[in-house]
């Protein structure tokens, strides 16, 4: 955990940087521990345990900027490291846009830094963890003759961080995380071994789902048996709540200040304009209690606040940090989203499927990419053919291709099944008119 020694060291190093010519500097110290247990079929496959430290420092020297990090955090060694870093920074070209944030924007609250830390983490014994991994496997091992391998794992960790800068910002955070994962491989006709997985994760031990992970992985693998590709065509597409992030991610990247500054975004100059279906409202909710991704301040110390990103299809904000605000001559917002939430509809995944006469449910993406300048994308997919409101056939080895702006304009319906154990709380979505290529 972060100790007084860590804090004193960080403060001393800020002082040392100043003495050696830095006009400003920022330090973050992080430390934590991890453990993981992977069980396969009848044996423990792998156990791992570790602890780590990291110190990062950003230096503003003679109008120049560099950032440096090390896991060697002994004082004398650090001084040498910082001295070298200052010398290196001095060689660079000047960049007048590099500054610390305006202190008015700093988080100044008194909220507990450990609201996302579970003290039970310290009490858990290795045997208990191993048993969870083993139990995930034993739920399904040898329950079906088609199973060729089952693997289950348990992992946990804690992470503590401390951020301080020469303008007087000081903040810290502690967090725990627990996860259970299972995967099942099956023998099919031919050489293919369809595989699927399931997991749960939580910041809190008591909230971690400890049963049913293996069974769910098996169920997901079984339903993939007999996958084939179908005819190319334009179909309505439902993307399940596990996979929406693949389509959301290019949009979020396009809102980033650096992408805008480098003219590497398909959403330049779109503030206040309609960029997507009127059904889409997307928000950043950084202060949801005990939630993964929640935070009071970003990596510069700037206070987070709830923000509407897209309202009824109209773009409301970009993610602009201090540097890009200076470069773009815009007001800073925040360096990035914390917890993304959708305004949800009234149907769950089954409900979305039930209303489709014909379409494709996408349950996994396989590779592909999106052009950051134009929004043109092409992704591999697998899932199910939907006919008359039912899943009739597993499909795979197909691509979807299109443009991000067109795709999100065709968002037809939003599910009510957002996953709450991740920081991107995506529900299942229905899009009209998506180009699939297959046979």
């Amino acid at each position: 955990m972060i100790t007084k020694k860590h804090k004193d060291l960080a403060q001393d190093m800020l002082g040392f940087a100043k003495q050696n010519g830095c006009s400003a500097s920022r330090i973050s110290i992080g430390c934590g521990t991890d453990s993981s247990f992977e069980y396969r079929d009848t044996k423990l496959e792998q156990l791992q345990q570790s602890s780590q430290n990291q110190l990062s420092i950003s230096l503003f020297v003679d109008g120049r900027f560099g950032s440096y990090s090390t896991n060697r955090i002994e004082e004398n060694e650090l001084k040498k490291f910082i001295k070298n870093a200052i010398d290196a920074t001095r060689y660079l070209a000047e960049d007048p846009h590099r500054t610390l944030p305006n202190p008015d924007l700093y988080y100044k609250g008194n909220d507990a830094p450990d609201a996302c830390y579970d003290k039970q983490f310290e009490q858990l014994q290795p045997d208990e963890k191993l048993q969870l991994a083993k139990a995930a496997v034993e739920e399904v091992y040898q329950t079906d003759p088609r199973i060729v391998s089952v693997s289950g794992s348990y992992g946990d960790g804690d992470w503590f961080s401390y951020l301080v800068d020469s303008n007087g910002f000081e903040g810290e955070k502690a967090q725990t995380a627990f996860n259970i994962y299972a995967s099942v491989s099956l023998k099919s006709d031919g050489d293919a071994r369809p595989e699927s997985w399931w997991y749960d994760e939580s910041l809190f031990w008591d909230k971690l789902q400890k049963e049913g992970i293996g069974k769910k992985a098996l169920e997901r693998a079984l339903r993939k048996l007999g996958q084939e590709k179908i005819k190319s065509g334009v179909y309505p597409m439902i993307v399940d709540n596990m996979n929406v992030s693949k389509l959301l991610s290019p949009v979020i990247s396009a809102l980033n200040g650096n992408a805008l500054a480098q003219k590497n975004s398909f959403l330049i100059d779109k503030l206040g304009q309609k960029i997507a279906s009127g059904k889409w409202t997307l928000s950043d909710e950084p202060h949801l209690p005990q939630a993964g991704g929640s935070r009071w301040f970003d990596n510069e110390g700037v206070a987070t606040r709830p923000r509407t990103i897209i309202e009824n299809g109209v773009l409301q904000t970009y993610f602009i940090d201090t540097y890009n605000a200076n470069r773009l001559k815009m007001q800073p917002t925040i360096s990035g989203a914390s917890i993304l939430t959708f305004k949800q509809g009234d149907k769950d995944l089954e409900g979305l499927i039930a209303q489709l006469k014909k379409g494709i449910l996408v349950t996994s993406f396989n590779g592909g990419n999106s052009n950051s300048s134009t929004g043109d994308f092409s992704f591999g997919v697998e899932g199910f053919l939907i006919e008359n409101g039912k899943l009739v056939k597993p499909v795979s080895e197909m691509n979807i291709t299109g443009n991000m702006l067109t795709l999100w304009e065709r968002l037809a319906e939003i599910g009510n099944d957002a996953r709450l154990n991740t920081s991107w709380r995506t529900p299942s979505l229905l899009f009209d008119g998506v180009s699939f290529s297959g046979i």
Binding site: L44, E45, Q46, L47, Q48, Q49, S50, S51, Q52, R64, F65, G66, Y68, R72, K80, N84, A85, A88, Y91, L92, A93, D95, V148, S149, N179, Y181, S185, D191, A192, R193, E195, W197, Y199, S232, A259, A261, Q262, K263, N264, N366, G367, G368, N369, N371, S373, T374, D376, F377, S378, F379, G380, E382, S396, E397, M398, N399, I400, T401, S437, I439
Partner: protein
């Protein structure tokens, strides 16, 4: 956590992140290799290593190894026309691995003291649960062929020596095409000190250089914006930085971006695909390389698990995975578990002749390890990974191959790929290529995903040209949350049928 394995090249992800200074204190003299120097570097003695290994084996492990690493990473980056950001990182530590049968215990420490190392050894030892069976080990220095000789170490130059090349990269892009509006460029290098010791008695040292040069340019024409990138990555010293390499990648990036404006998307569906020589080696990496990694096969979860010794493609095809190409991004003098760098034929005359092994899988199959036991850093246990994966020459010409296709695509620049080991479905993203119409390359194409199935695609390779090329781009391969540098290569080939994205 998903058993999805991917590869990507650096350029497209060149965000405004890090840049670079040279922070390293030179602490070497003359040769930078040699066990004695490395022992001194990490402040440990042979005797201490033996004690840590003994502690690792005290619960009955069959085998233990210790991996020490000290890596200095530097990056310089340019945006808005000036080299205006530096980033460096230092990573230091050692990992202890204990194996019993197929099972692995692993722990690492960032402070290399006897107390900490013994603690880590006893944590890793818990994978076993009996009494020590391996007697005290003797270690002796093992030396290997050096596949990454360099002239000047990255530790011997500073920011000011490297900056001009990054600046020139920017300036050349702007000079080559007046439609260029933004250039992002970066250069990075890393230097790793490695010391390795195991209970078989191997004690060895390595000094690993790595460097990349990247550029991404944004171009505007008639209100439209496009981007393109180029990069190169090698295990080389400072001599890697030349005006020639700057010119090459500046041209690739600007010519690529210009081509984008004319590019179309093909009509999607199953089409013959001609893969250009060089970076099309991504086909091998995804379609078969991962599925040949023996951990997936010993676990019986690869689509190739039952195909060992069988004919998997045309009898004229030979495919190797090679750690011995001098200065190559996939070169390794010894892998991260002390096995010599080597060249491994995975397909010989069309027959699957070897999986890619680490020590665990080699023992499982009763064969010698193939030098594929690699890890991202001391924070991870090694597993089977590719090095440089390529197909050898056939006897067609590229012209003949293109001429044989009535309606298809020609793919030549790729950004990333992925595979599902069990189902065998793999994909790669074509950043740039051409339509083939009536045996001729016609309009450029762009931004299209291609998907296929490993064994089927391999069997569908019907023509192989005589123009084999290794690709020098900065490929990084991801597996189970560990990234390692790799490279790949291919002569031009015809794959009879793959599913091409399109509208």
């Amino acid at each position: 956590m998903q058993r999805r394995d991917f590869i990507k090249t650096g350029g497209m992800a060149l965000v405004g992140a890090a840049l670079l200074p040279n922070l390293l204190q030179s602490c070497h003299a003359g040769t930078k290799e040699g066990v004695a120097l490395m022992l001194a570097h990490f402040g440990v003695s042979e005797n201490e290593l033996k004690k840590v290994i003994a502690a690792a084996l005290e619960k009955g492990g069959d085998y233990a190894d210790l991996f020490f690493e000290h890596t200095f990473y530097n990056q310089l980056s340019l945006q808005d026309g000036a080299v205006n950001r530096a980033y460096s990182n230092i990573d230091f530590g050692m990992g202890v691995r204990v194996i019993v049968g197929d099972q692995t215990g692993y722990a690492y420490v960032e402070n290399i003291t006897m107390d900490e190392m013994l603690k880590a050894a006893r944590t890793a030892a818990r994978i076993a649960s009996g009494n020590a069976t391996v007697k005290a080990v003797n270690v002796s220095e093992t030396t290997f062929t050096n596949y990454y000789p360099f002239v000047t170490s990255w530790e011997d130059v500073s920011v000011k020596d490297k900056m001009p090349y990054v600046q020139k990269l920017n300036d050349r892009c702007f000079a080559l095409d007046n439609r260029v509006v933004k250039v992002m460029a970066s250069q990075d290098d890393s230097t790793s000190y490695i010391l390795f010791c195991n209970s078989d008695g191997v004690l060895c040292a390595d000094y690993r250089p790595m460097t990349t040069l990247n550029v991404s340019c944004i171009m505007e024409e008639n209100g439209k914006t496009e981007n393109f990138y180029s990069n190169r990555g090698f295990r080389k010293g400072v001599e890697f930085l030349t005006d020639d390499i700057v010119e090459t990648i500046a041209r690739e990036a600007t010519e690529g971006a210009a081509r984008m404006f004319k590019a179309v998307k093909p009509k999607g569906g199953e089409l013959p695909v001609v893969l250009a020589a060089g970076s099309s080696g991504i086909l091998l990496h995804e379609a078969i390389g991962h599925a040949f990694e023996a951990d997936f096969n010993r676990k019986n979860i690869s689509i190739f698990s039952d195909l060992f010794g069988k004919k998997v493609c045309d009898e004229h095809i030979n495919i190797a995975d090679d750690g011995t190409i001098a200065g190559n991004r996939g070169a390794i003098n010894f892998d991260d578990e002390g096995t010599a760098g080597q060249k491994t034929y995975i397909v010989t005359n069309g027959v699957l002749t070897s999986y890619l092994h680490d020590r665990i899988s080699a023992k499982h199959y009763g064969v010698a390890p193939t030098g594929n036991g690699r890890r991202e850093s001391f924070r991870f246990a090694p597993m089977p990974r590719m090095r440089s994966t390529y197909m050898e020459n056939g006897n067609a010409t590229e012209e003949e191959i293109i001429a044989s296709v009535k309606n298809g695509v020609y793919a030549s620049v790729f950004t990333n790929g992925q595979v599902q080991i069990g189902a065998g479905d793999f994909t790669f993203f074509v950043k740039s290529g051409y339509l083939i119409e009536n045996g001729k390359l016609t309009r450029p194409i762009k931004d299209i995903n291609v998907i296929g199935n490993g064994p089927k695609a391999l069997a569908d390779i019907t023509m192989v040209a005589n123009n084999q090329q290794l690709d020098g781009s900065t490929w990084t391969c991801g597996k189970n949350n560990q990234s390692v540098p790799v490279s790949l290569g291919l002569p031009s080939v015809l794959v009879k049928k793959l599913t091409v994205g399109g509208e």
